[in-house]
């Protein structure tokens, strides 16, 4: 079946603009995650959804970042008043939340965001 998909694959915007990044998880996966990967770094956790609700948003860097998952499937990461430091690859992952240690997260291809 289809894996996790993310759109757009690339997004170039200007400082101060608003952007939305979309994630389509694997069908049936109840858990959805957003990570951010800056150049030369590993992915960093942003937010986790279980169903429709954000169970943990402790990784969101500030209140310019917000994410929703209104129907428990597709999720949108929203960034207001973008800054150059927001430039990164934004990764989405989904999983069947099973037993501890058996939580394989399936990653999407990422959206490369560039803020000029």
């Amino acid at each position: 079946g289809a894996g996790v998909s993310q759109t757009p694959s690339n997004k170039v915007t200007e400082k101060g603009k608003y952007v939305e990044l979309r994630c389509d998880p694997i069908s049936g996966h109840t858990a959805l995650y957003w990570y951010r990967q800056s150049l030369g770094q590993g992915p960093e956790f942003l937010i986790y959804f279980q169903g429709t609700g954000a169970a943990d948003d402790s990784g969101l860097p500030n209140d310019r970042f917000f994410a929703v998952r209104p129907e428990g499937s597709v999720s949108t990461l929203k960034i207001q008043r973008t800054e150059r430091g927001d430039s990164a690859v934004y990764l989405c992952a989904s999983s069947l939340l099973r037993l501890a240690g058996d939580n394989e997260q399936f990653f999407g291809p990422g959206t490369r965001l560039t803020v000029l």
Partner: protein, 113 residues
Amino acid sequence: AQRVTQPEKLLSVFKGAPVELKCNYSYSGSPELFWYVQYSRQRLQLLLRHISRESIKGFTADLNKGETSFHLKKPFAQEEDSAMYYCAHAGGDSGGSNYKLTFGKGTLLTVNP
């Protein structure tokens, strides 16, 4: 805060040579550790997890709680093993939140012919 350290940014070996990618973690509880791999122009994917004790593509990783390490090893490297490898830990500081992955910075492995 928990940390995952991969001390080598780059690792280059010849085909057929043994390879070891190092990973150390800082966590006081029972760790849940993974290795993820990203081949050129592909997405990040799970390679193996310590809980299943399996060997994937000839790679193994043993959890050493005394040394807080989870090094990835392969006795005979192949050119197709060239990729970016990330060690990751699942879990928060309090021992819960086992959904949250903390990644190391990654090691770029190049296997030369």
